[in-house]
Symmetry: C2
Subunit: 553 residues, 2 copies
Amino acid sequence: MTKVIDFQTDPSKYRHWRIEYDGEIANLYMDVDEQGGLFEGYELKLNSYDLGVDIELADVVQRFRFEHPEVKTVVMQSAKEKVFCAGANIRMLGGAAHAHKVNFCKFTNETRNTFEAAETDSGQTYICAVKGSCAGGGYELALACNYIMLTNDSTSAVALPEVPLLAVLPGTGGLTRITDKRKMRRDLADVFCSLEEGVKGNRAKDWKLVDELIPNSKFDEVVRERAKEFALKSSRPSDAKGVELTPLDRQFTEDGSVSYSSVDVAVDRTNKRVTITISGPDTDAHASMDAFHSQGADAYMLRMARELDDAILHLRLNEMELGLIVFKTQGDPKRMQAHEDLLLNSKDHWLANEVLQYWKRILKRIDLTSRSLVALVEHGSCFTGVLAELLFSVDRSYMMEDEFEGDNREICAITLSASNFEQYPMSNDLTRLQTRFLGDPDTVDTLKGKVGEPLEAANASALGLITYTLDDIDWEDEIRIFMEERASFSPDAMTAMEANLRFPGPETMETRIFGRLTAWQNWVFQRPNAVGEEGALQSYGTGRRGKYNMGRV
Amino acid sequence: MTKVIDFQTDPSKYRHWRIEYDGEIANLYMDVDEQGGLFEGYELKLNSYDLGVDIELADVVQRFRFEHPEVKTVVMQSAKEKVFCAGANIRMLGGAAHAHKVNFCKFTNETRNTFEAAETDSGQTYICAVKGSCAGGGYELALACNYIMLTNDSTSAVALPEVPLLAVLPGTGGLTRITDKRKMRRDLADVFCSLEEGVKGNRAKDWKLVDELIPNSKFDEVVRERAKEFALKSSRPSDAKGVELTPLDRQFTEDGSVSYSSVDVAVDRTNKRVTITISGPDTDAHASMDAFHSQGADAYMLRMARELDDAILHLRLNEMELGLIVFKTQGDPKRMQAHEDLLLNSKDHWLANEVLQYWKRILKRIDLTSRSLVALVEHGSCFTGVLAELLFSVDRSYMMEDEFEGDNREICAITLSASNFEQYPMSNDLTRLQTRFLGDPDTVDTLKGKVGEPLEAANASALGLITYTLDDIDWEDEIRIFMEERASFSPDAMTAMEANLRFPGPETMETRIFGRLTAWQNWVFQRPNAVGEEGALQSYGTGRRGKYNMGRV
């Protein structure tokens, strides 16, 4: 699987999803094209999915937020007869490299989380209307919705058959959501996860697997009713006009570098690293959200967000050997902050809210990116507000101190904004500053008093905002040594270490999914019982069962 | 490594640890015998350790609690010159099977946790007095202590060099404790974990890696002072006499079964399962803790605890192919409850407290055992109080309903005691009943009203205490089918599923160590970069570095 995976798509290209807009309700039909797999070698039968199907779904969810402010309820359903969704495609999983499997699961997990975020952050509720078999990743799609409705017939059932059938976990949040979101009793969860055929009818309701069981004859009617009820409770505007997410301005060069309008991705294959430089805004901030809205997807804070998001996803799936991501910024910090301030001062405007919430998701995506992350605060940079947040997302940071010979750029400073104290919580539900100063909560209070104040190196260091400050004499050598050292470590050890150090403090359902559940799934994805030649994934569909080594670990 | 590992030892057999008792202070010296490895093929140089060293340590810690009520402070130190401890032995890790590595780490983690438990539960504080190099698992020993003192000289340093040196994680709680217990800033943690040579002197103190830095010349004196200060704050009795932990009454038979005085371990190799039957007490409960104390280690509640603990450890390390543990009890429930009640009513007696806290640790050990766990509540059983707790520890449970033909034993019932609501919290800090009814906290309140009431099958099932109740007609078949089914699943998938389903709800430092950290470490332990022929563990000591595949996952 060496094809370059593109995360950009739009409705004109969809092969797997269909949407019928009905005022404040969007009916989202899963209708996977069997022949539309991202790679060769498998057919997407029974509404099973691969990464390509999920890239479309992520695009759908994003467009609901930005292009359709009027949509208050999304009803997810199947366009196929007798099957809702069979989950991730097994032949795809059987043929995929370990790293692809892991990153595929991570992306699908992030996309599932956006269903829940849509309700919490934007008042847009996902209902899952299940008819037919809803198994594995299919039921995990349902679990991520806010309300699950099941028709009461002889064939419609929900199931997590991964363990008995495939020797892997329901790894897209399934195990965590049944116990932590739906609060199923753990012994019943054990039974449920051992049943290939799943559970239907009243038992599904009694075991908390679905919210409502509906006679088949009334199913569509009751689903419509519920959709309207949820819409009534929504805070989304009824009269707003959406913002079209137009295609990104993006150029790939031969060496793998990518340049967007405000984000530059410079690949250095020799040293196995990539530098992402974010350019601050060229123009002053809009005077109002109306003006921002008129510029639409070209407005800087939305445009740059989409570019950065695309860059991160591209690197994750297509550039596995670039183990270190270096973040830089260049631009006028005051102008940059003015752009963020417009959004922060207009949070009750639906579009300002959407852009800020999108930034929250992007920063979480960066936290979860299994590359070493470092930020270099150079002269002329604009690490302020949301861009300062990058400094608290990375594993470590370096900052220029005092003047550098021949460097006429403005002496660099870090500037905090109110957003750093509330706007972009991590998946552990703390801000990045709270996480950083877990042992010194007073420091967070001190820092609140510094909002808006440019903090040059000595100050930033004393306040604990930066790992190292270096002057002209040491800068180049120290950073080179660090990068060389980092490139000499085992990538696996780095991935595992970073997954631990980045998320201290409390855990949430989200951190549990990406921490405990994912780590165990990744372990299983290495075990011969699942992925070996006689393992369950290879044996699937051949008529023989996986041959297992019965030793426990 | 097919040798049977014995977890029973006593001071007369110690090869690696030496203790000097000094009234309320115990000086514990690590003095590993290089030739005393548990297996062939490595030497335990530089105070490095293997499972054998840790089995002794676990025994030391346990005896401090029971045999030495007068010990209020334990000072852990090295008896070697210039080295505190070099951590887990690398050659041992390089040669060990995956399952041994995983279970070795689990046991060492459990043993580290007992340091912290000794302070919280028993007022016994561990001080770590570090002189010399304290690296990897050595520093993780220190991290588990309540107070770390470092001498200020040119060679004494603390380090977590696993990632740069060995391409594995500091997996015995290290990554979690630096961020969550010591609350080190996460970017500094990233730096620290990348430094092979570690950190010494003031920087170690500034980075929160140690609690106190002491000039070399005053080291011993200040350590003694601190030990006395901690002892002053302790609630442990000064005048109590300890209880000697005498050798267990234990018989192995040829098929691998083990019988203890009150615990029977019946191995069924054909069906890859083992049945642990606990016999209730033969005699009435003691009238007082004085009488209990006179009987010492033979007192039922302590004797049976030690037998069960030994059985679990034996199965974990020596019987990897027995994938299912079946728990049964037989005995008089009233008499059984009277034995627990004596302890519950005497919690301010140091020995009652120690026995109850030991039960807490054993139940946690069962939760963390990577075997499928099932309980069968048969007629004549005594699942009451602490034994009822087993029902909430297992993955699922079955209970006999109504009379069984030809079975004259007393109709079975489950009886809750006050202990089920507070005495034995899981590692997530909830009781097992709170965990079970995470979605129905009212049920826990309802159950409190049932304390002392024998709940027969219909009642127990209605209250959610049991997974399945079966009558004479279905019992045998249903259980046979379940067991056959369980034996047909991939052991890895079961391990990973159980590690997720058993710990819903909140996370603590403990669950993070056993969940997130351990799961990632287990993943790393499967990766060629660590354990492959050219990986770091095999290359260690050969003069060449590990050869890594640089792709990120």
